[in-house]
């Protein structure tokens, strides 16, 4: 019976994927993520449903504050007690005490806020007091609300660029670009670490000859790369979701703000996905070929070559400050670096569609050439034991299969 090649590739893909997929570990990490998501959700619900009202005692009638939102201000005539004693009384209902401080040379009034301990609502109380005082002073000065607003924000500064391609919201696009690089690095690191372990392991366990007797080097390398590609996608999605959950946790639980995902350009995600797949494919094909030539990972000098796929990430990181500069433009078309450079550039500036498509086509062409070249290197390297091929030999194999 003649086996179907695509079925063989799929079998190797599944075998490779399942080799590194540990159910228990996956289940635990996903449960932790669900728990964080649930915590963020319930925190938001509970916070909206249950607003705590804080009772604030005012020890002087000259402090004029109106109850508002979560703060209830109440004048207390207890000159015999200090603010500290007022809070510490057994049946005290107060969460904070505001007293007048000593006069200072300017016209500014000084208030002393005494509380039991450090709590996050204190900053909200400060803001509330400042707002009420601002409005009182504005009324005393006969200022209209718009005049008050003008005083608070006297001028609005917006930055514009001669290069109109640069996206206006600099800070956000920079953050997205860095997130992009990090996600790509996660994918590349995951796939190349695992593929390296898998290939050198198979070589050391002497499975290669048995495998070669039933499957071609091309189908084998295709299956292995696809399996690792699936792992890289899983790792990138997991890292992306974990990052989002972390952001949500910080925003909602720690900072008590609402979750705002408006900064994410969802239309950009498919491009990121395509370039990531291309980049991971190129780097895993390269790693597969090099790893196949390594006889003993503990003593081989070629293990340093495994760091090469990180070079594009580092280059883009160094040049991304000038997204429309010549270096970034060159890197975004060069197939060895375009898979990182182009998506980063797209997140920073507006890129014409044909630039993106050309970069993609060049990348696919390189991936196709690497696929067959790597299979040749893979085949020769995997059947060599005892003596490692030289780098020169490896490049020769990349171009032509020896006898």
């Amino acid at each position: 019976m003649k086996p179907n090649k695509s079925k063989q590739v799929w079998l190797v893909t599944c075998w490779e994927f399942m080799h590194f997929f540990k159910w228990k570990q996956e289940l635990i990490s996903k449960l932790i993520m669900i728990a964080i998501a649930a915590m963020v959700y319930f925190w938001q619900v509970v916070k909206n449903d249950d607003v705590t009202i804080y009772q604030i005692a005012l020890t002087s009638q000259s402090v004029v504050l109106q109850s508002s939102g979560q703060f209830k201000f109440e004048y207390v005539d207890s000159t015999a007690l200090s603010a500290y004693e007022l809070l510490q009384q057994e049946d005290s209902k107060y969460d904070a005490v505001i007293a007048i401080g000593p006069k200072i040379p300017s016209e500014q009034q000084q208030l002393i806020l005494t509380v039991n301990d450090k709590q996050s609502w204190h900053s909200n109380l400060n803001t509330e007091i400042l707002n009420q005082y601002r409005q009182t002073i504005a009324q005393q000065l006969n200022l209209q609300p718009n005049q008050l607003a003008l005083l608070q924000t006297p001028v609005s500064i917006s930055q514009e660029y001669a290069d109109q391609a640069i996206k206006s919201d600099d800070e956000v696009s920079d953050t997205i670009a860095i997130v992009m690089i990090v996600l790509m690095a996660v994918g590349i690191f995951t796939s190349f670490g695992q593929l390296f372990a898998s290939i050198t392991g198979e070589k050391q366990q002497r499975v290669t000859e048995q495998l070669y007797s039933c499957i071609s080097a091309q189908s084998w390398i295709d299956g292995k790369i696809l399996g690792q590609l699936l792992h890289a996608i899983k790792a990138m999605i997991t890292a992306g979701i974990t990052g989002l959950l972390g952001y949500a946790f910080m925003a909602v639980v720690i900072n008590e703000q609402s979750l705002d995902l408006a900064m994410i350009d969802w239309s950009f995600i498919p491009w990121l996905f395509i370039f990531s797949l291309l980049g991971i494919y190129i780097s895993t094909a390269f790693i597969a070929a090099v790893a196949a030539a390594i006889d003993d990972p503990n003593h081989s000098a070629k293990t340093s070559m495994m760091l090469l796929p990180l070079v594009p990430v580092a280059l883009v990181f160094m040049t991304m400050d000038d997204a429309s500069g010549w270096a970034m433009s060159m890197l975004s078309f060069l197939p060895l670096t375009s898979f990182v450079a182009m998506p980063v550039k797209m997140s920073l500036i507006d890129v014409p569609l044909w630039h993106t498509l050309l970069s993609l086509v060049l990348g696919i062409a390189l991936a196709a050439w690497l696929r067959s070249g790597a299979a040749r290197m893979f085949k020769m390297g995997m059947t060599m034991y005892g003596k490692e091929p030289s780098v020169g030999m490896m490049f020769k194999w990349m171009i032509k299969e020896p006898k």
Partner: protein, 310 residues
């Protein structure tokens, strides 16, 4: 269905691993490849499986009237000399993976795996991790992985190594069964007693060349007599006396107190024994038939001398 090897040469730098070798393997036979270490067996096997290509000469495999330059993957079951499967995976997972790679469905693979595991007394260990099995049992699992898909051609490199005598016998039975199923088996081995039991034909190689090729009977005929007399003496043997008593006989001095004489005819045995008693005080004397092991050693020594002289 036939395998033809014609004047095949494989050279690594200046070393001729396989030197203009020719032979053929017929459909349904068990063909044994013999030779000392470095004889070129592995280089030959690598060319037959298509892992490498010959530098000169031709290999042709005909299957269903189609000619191939090596045994195609889909028609091959291969047990390599460098053994190994996935130690962390279970026995059944390992076998089913290779069966599926060879085109079987999962259910067929499981069914066949159960059949062969039963034959090798490994049914109860099927869910165990491969690494938990003894070396011999791991080898049996690898043997099953190589043939589970019932290929037309099977190449087994050292199938008996690492097995105890009981399991070696099991492998012999197993190979007979494969033959009955219509498979052609090409094996290399050093266990001559096993090869003698199962091989239909033999190719004895040394330094990349064929030393002998044919059935065991044909090889014996080529080598001359099959009868040996081995004599051991109390004291060292006198060289001059040996030349004097055995001027035309095939005599091999094993050491200074031990001698081996080949008798061309069986009826010469008494005459040879008489001559041997005249050489000195005997400690022992034995008449024996040359087995494949002896033929192998004699032939390799003889070929070594010839190629050295050449």
């Amino acid at each position: 269905m036939q395998l033809l090897v014609n004047q095949v040469l494989k050279q690594y730098a200046t070393v001729k691993a396989v030197n203009h070798l020719s032979f053929n393997v017929n459909h349904g036979e068990i063909f044994a490849l013999l030779g000392p270490n470095g004889a070129g067996k592995s280089s030959l096997v690598k060319m037959l499986t298509g892992f490498t290509k010959p530098d000169a000469g031709k290999i042709s495999v005909t299957i269903d009237d189609v000619e191939y330059d090596a045994i195609p993957n889909w028609a091959l079951g291969y047990l390599p000399e460098d053994r190994g499967l996935y130690p962390e995976k279970s026995v059944i997972d390992n076998i089913c993976y290779f069966a599926q790679l060879n085109g079987m469905t999962k259910s067929e693979a499981k069914e066949q795996a159960a059949f062969w595991l039963e034959k090798f007394d490994l049914s109860e260990r099927k869910s165990d991790q491969l690494k938990s099995l003894s070396k011999g049992n791991q080898q049996k699992v690898q043997l099953i992985s190589a043939v589970i898909h019932r290929p037309q051609w099977i190449i087994l490199d050292e199938p008996f190594s690492g097995l105890d005598p009981v399991n070696q016998e099991k492998v012999v039975t197993f190979l007979h069964e494969l033959k009955k199923l219509g498979m052609t088996v090409l094996l290399s081995a050093h266990q001559m007693a096993m090869v003698e039991k199962i091989a239909d034909r033999i190719l004895l190689m040394n330094k990349g060349e064929a030393v002998f090729y044919g059935t065991l009977g044909e090889i014996t005929q080529q080598l001359g007599s099959n009868n040996l007399v081995v004599a051991s003496y109390v004291h060292a043997i006198d060289q001059e006396k040996i030349t004097e008593l055995f001027p035309n006989d095939d005599v091999v001095q094993i050491n200074n107190t031990k001698l081996q004489v080949v008798c061309a005819e069986k009826d010469q045995l008494n005459q040879v024994t008489d001559k041997l008693t005249k050489l000195g005080a005997l400690s022992s004397i034995q008449c024996q038939q040359r087995d494949l092991h002896q033929i192998y050693i004699d032939a390799i020594e003889q070929h070594g001398e010839t190629s050295h002289e050449a």
